[in-house]
Structure formats: C-alpha cells, structure tokens
C-alpha cells in the first residue's frame, strides 16, 4: 500500500474512533444513571479503541508492531466488559435502582 493511501485509511479510522470516544463522553456526562453511563462508556471502549488501534496499525512500521497494537483490542474488550459488569453489580448491591422514563414510573 502506498504511503498516501495508508495515511488516508489511518486518518479515517482514527476519526471514526475519536467519534465513538466523543459519543461515549457525551453519554457519560448526559445519561441519567450509572447503568446507562456504563452502556455509553463500554461503546467508547469497544468501538472507539477498536478503530483507534486499527488506524495506528495501518501506519505501523512492521507487521509485528501492527499485530501488537491489534492485540491490545481484545485484551481491553475482555477487561472493560468485566469491569462494566462488576461496577453494575456493585451499583445494584448498593441498591441503586435503574432509571426509568418519567411516563414509565
């Protein structure tokens, strides 16, 4: 792949990744309770980081470096899914009830 095409794909992936991080951050700030905020954050972790490492892997100097970058993704997926679950479980144990739309209360 010529360098300009690499740069282009890398930029596209990085921008998509940044978008998911932005969306996750907006969700963290704007969503009403801990469970919905977790939902927003895990999306940022999963898709945002996925596109980010993809964008960086395209630019990597060697295949080994690209694979190392891509390895970060499944590791973080497993960790973030588990941590998200643990936080939600702890919140439930503390008796925080999920947010409901006003008309459903």
């Amino acid at each position: 792949m010529p360098d300009s095409a690499r740069e282009f794909f890398s930029a596209v992936f990085l921008v998509i990744g940044a978008f998911f991080y932005l969306a996750g951050t907006v969700g963290l700030l704007r969503f009403p309770d801990v469970y919905t905020r977790l939902h927003a954050l895990t999306k940022a972790d999963n898709l945002g980081l996925g596109f980010l490492v993809l964008g960086l892997a395209v630019q990597a100097e060697s295949l080994a470096a690209a694979l190392k970058l891509l390895l970060i993704w499944p590791l973080t997926l497993a960790a973030s899914a588990t941590v998200g679950y643990l936080i939600a479980r702890r919140a439930r144990a503390l008796g925080i009830s999920p947010w409901l739309r006003p008309e459903d209360r």
Partner: protein, 310 residues
Amino acid sequence: MNLALVFDLLLALMLLWSAWRALAAPNATRAVVMFIVFGLFLTLAWGRLDAPDIALAEAAIGAGLTGALLLDAVRTLGESAGADAGGARSPWRWPVLAFSPLLAVILVVAVLEAPQQLVDLPAVVERNMGLSGVTHPVTAVLLNFRGYDTLLEVAVLLAALFGLLALAQGAASAATRESFLLHTLARLATPPMIVVAGYLLWAGAHQPGGAFQAAAVLAAAAVLLHLAGLLPAWVAPGRLLRLGLAGGLLVFLAVAILPLAHAPLLTYPPAWAGALILLVETALTVSLGLVLAGLFLFLSGRSLRDEETR
C-alpha cells in the same frame, strides 16, 4: 501556537486539576480514584517528555498497583477514615496554602538558575554504550553505569516489605466466591500477562522495558488472581517464598561483589556484561514481582474475610 503545545498545556492543566481534586475530595474513595486519574495524566506527561521507561513504570506501579493498594486500604479502613485529619477546616490550611506557591517558585528558580553541567552525561553514556552489554541507554545506566542506585532501590523495596510483614496481622483468608466473569477474566488474562512480563524483561536490553516494568505486570497478575478468588492472601512467607522475595537482591549482590578482587563494586567485564545484566534482571523480575504482589497480598488477608461476598 502549534497543536502539540496546546496539548501539553492542556495536559499540565489536567495534572494540576486532578491533583487538586484528589486533595480536595470529600471522601477517601474519590480521592483515590482522582489519584489514579492523576497517575494516568502523569503517564501521558512522561510519554510527552520522551521518557517511555518512566511512563511504563508510572502506569504500572504509580497508577495501577498503588491505586489498587489505596482502594484496598479504603475498603479496610472504611470510608470515613482520616476524613477529619486534613480537611478544609484544618488549622494547617493557611500555612500550607502560603508555602506551596513559595516552594513552586523556589523550584522554578532553581531549575532556571541551575549551574551549567560540567559533564555532558548523555554524551558520556553514548560513548560508553559499547561497554555496557546492552543497547538501550536507560538499561545501561540503571543496571551498569549506576547499578548501585538500582541495587539500593531493590534493598529499600525489600525492607519496606519486611516492615509490612512486621505490621500485618496474619489471618488466613477464607476462599471467596467471586463472580464468574471476573474468574474467567483472571484465568484468560494471566497467561498473556506472564508472556508480556517476559517480553518486557527481554526487551529491556534494547528498548524501553526491564525488570521493574515486568515485575509490575507479574504483580498485577497476582493481584487480579487474588481479587478473583483464585489466589489466597499470603499469611506468612514459607521457605520458598522467602527465597523468591530475597533472591533478586541476593543475585544482584553476588554479581556486584564478584569483581571485587580486582575491580570496584559492580564493574562487569564488558564481554560478560550483557549476560550478567540479563541474569540480574531475570532474578529481579521474579523477586520484585513477588515483593510488589506481597505488598498487596500480605495486607489483604483480613479485609477480604470481612467483606460480604455477594
């Protein structure tokens, strides 16, 4: 103003902000969480300063392990512990507020007024790299040129663990039933973590990495296994564990003393330097990993038993 400068200024602001939030937090948990956030910003700052070795150590030890230790301490002591000791109404507030900016000014002036360095240290390191046995300058300085600093650091860490062992009341921890997901994550993550530790150890010879970073990853794996209920807390170290804890320092000392007959302490013969450094770093990885894990595992015997398992 270019973009990198904007980023650096933002980073500096976030460092100050997170440090302030950690100090001004209304309860202990928030303070610890903000301390971890501060550690992550500090990691980024070291990265921006082109110091990936320190960034790795800060992320793994400063933010990661220390954060876990502090969270565990909060859980054991209870949320309100120390809340009144240094709060906003403390009589020390004004002297501290007055003294901190003064100290900052003194430090800035000291940096600006620092005398010209008589020896150009980076150039000296560069010239002697051929003798060091490794190709990564940081490792050459830490394990060869200034090896006794590292030797003493290891001794200090071991002494800290001795102090902790003297204080910790041994209490056998009950086996905890932890969640299936955490259990699975710990089982899945531990083998790659051991591989990463080995990789960091090996990489230290020619790129950022080395014994401290590798040991931090090993210790993190031990803490994860412990939190998942797969590894019980340590009560009193048996013979094998004692050997493991002290082994790194013993090997380092032996390597340091070896040339004493015809040369000063810690002078490796250049032909052997690479192999000796690898030997020392391997022993240090195991021992420091056990020491760092021990800081957590020796302490948490009691707190885990007390916690309600859901």
